[in-house]
Amino acid sequence: MSRCVTILASSPPTWESPLLNVADITARYGEAQVLQGVSLEVAKGQVVTLVGRNGAGKTTLLRSVMGLHRSMTGRVELDGTNISRMAPHKRCRLGLGYVPDDRGVYASLSVEENLTLPPKVGPDAWPLEKVYEAFPVLAERRRQAGTHLSGGEQQMLSIARVLRMGARMLLADEPTEGLSPLLVRQIGEIIRTVKAHGVTVLLIEQNVHFASTVADRHYLMAQGRVVESLDNSEVEQREHELLEYLGI
């Protein structure tokens, strides 16, 4: 029920200029060409998911946007600025918030240090109190080592960290992976909240159904290419076909 409301209420106008524009990106690992010319756009305020099988190149795409993949060619623009040759820390300072596939929680930093490691990069940076209000478990365990948290809690920490930064665009690599349905729902809530604050999200997601409840649009990736761009109604109509395609 709430799902329909959210989608209707938050679909942004389509004429909005893209916040993230990725044009013809290629990337390789040694001999293997992992991305073979990927182009996509994410409009301001949209939540867009990347779906596709393991090995389709989704993680490499996010890493390339973040500047972590050295062999990348092609063009990445954030809000009209060409960031293709920019160092990762500068991309971060322009407002990219990375939630890596392994959660990127530091064992040698406390929970609170994990949150405050990145500098504040945007006007909407959440104060710590707000983070702790939204994620009470992080407040309780603020002095503990980051990796003493459970998997789900680490995922919360990873997302909370980029909110504390005030990132205007999240690059989230499968934040629901391995989480219980309860936690997946919670992550969904967080993404909707984030979106309501005007943050743009590019999200890797294997769970097509979950993807359609949080996102405005979807890119289907296969073998290093974007093969289709789908909206929510198409995802719902073709859910079985997609699930089969994804091998789930």
Binding site: M66, L68, H89, C92, Y106, L117
Partner: protein
Amino acid sequence: MDALLQQLFNGLVSGSFYALLALGLSVIFGMLGVVNFAHGAFYMLGAFGALVLLDSFGLNWWLALLLVPIGLGLAGMVVERLFVHRLVALDPLYNFLLTFGIALILQDLIRLKYGVASQPYDRPDVLGGSVNLGLFSYPKYQVFVLIFSIVISVLVWLVLNRTRVGMIVRASTERAELTKSFGIDVRRWITPVFGFGIALAGLAGVLAAPMRAVNSGMGGDLIIVIFAVVVIGGLGSVFGSVAAGYIVGMLSAVGNLYVPALSQSLVFILMALVLLLRPAGLFGREEGVLA
């Protein structure tokens, strides 16, 4: 019992050197991904630095304790800027060739001037004689070395754990690439961290001058054990390196008392055991390979 206690104390003193050297090696490895085979050579230069300051400039040991680490730290920063930073993108083999090459060059330069014989260096007058520790009396200088190294380790620990700079170094040591994506210019911190690690090696060298044989080979003998210490403590773990330094020191010393034949090998047996049971080291963390 007294013999054991005394031997444990000897072990702690040796451990002081292990800890200071392993600390620097570990931070450098963590942050640059470079195993610095020249670390022992900088330790040796620390001792010779004290010697040169005294012989040529008449500067006493206390001044050497201050000046030598600063000088070597700066030299280390130059070496990092000129050579070491080029290693990052290269095959790890070049890491070995470069840093081992630097070690050999430094050793031979010292050998050219001083030969292979050990040079005498007197302990500072204030620290001469011995102190009564209750159960046994112990050379005052060694007690000072132990306390001093603990103080330095604690200070480094405080800086690393209680300051923002320390937090950045810890994060970069643990996951350098990832830390860049959180807006930290990791490269900017690499040169000072390398210099700092070298300064600690130099400091250990100055501490060693009055109580160890000062010769061109003193670093080469030690560095192998230091590598074992770092592996035992956990690569990149600062606390682990220091703790493992004192543990290995005590283990060798106690081994020396009960199984003298084994004492040299004990550290490597411990290393093998640690690698079998906890591959990431006693205080290290397993790290997934980034896809």
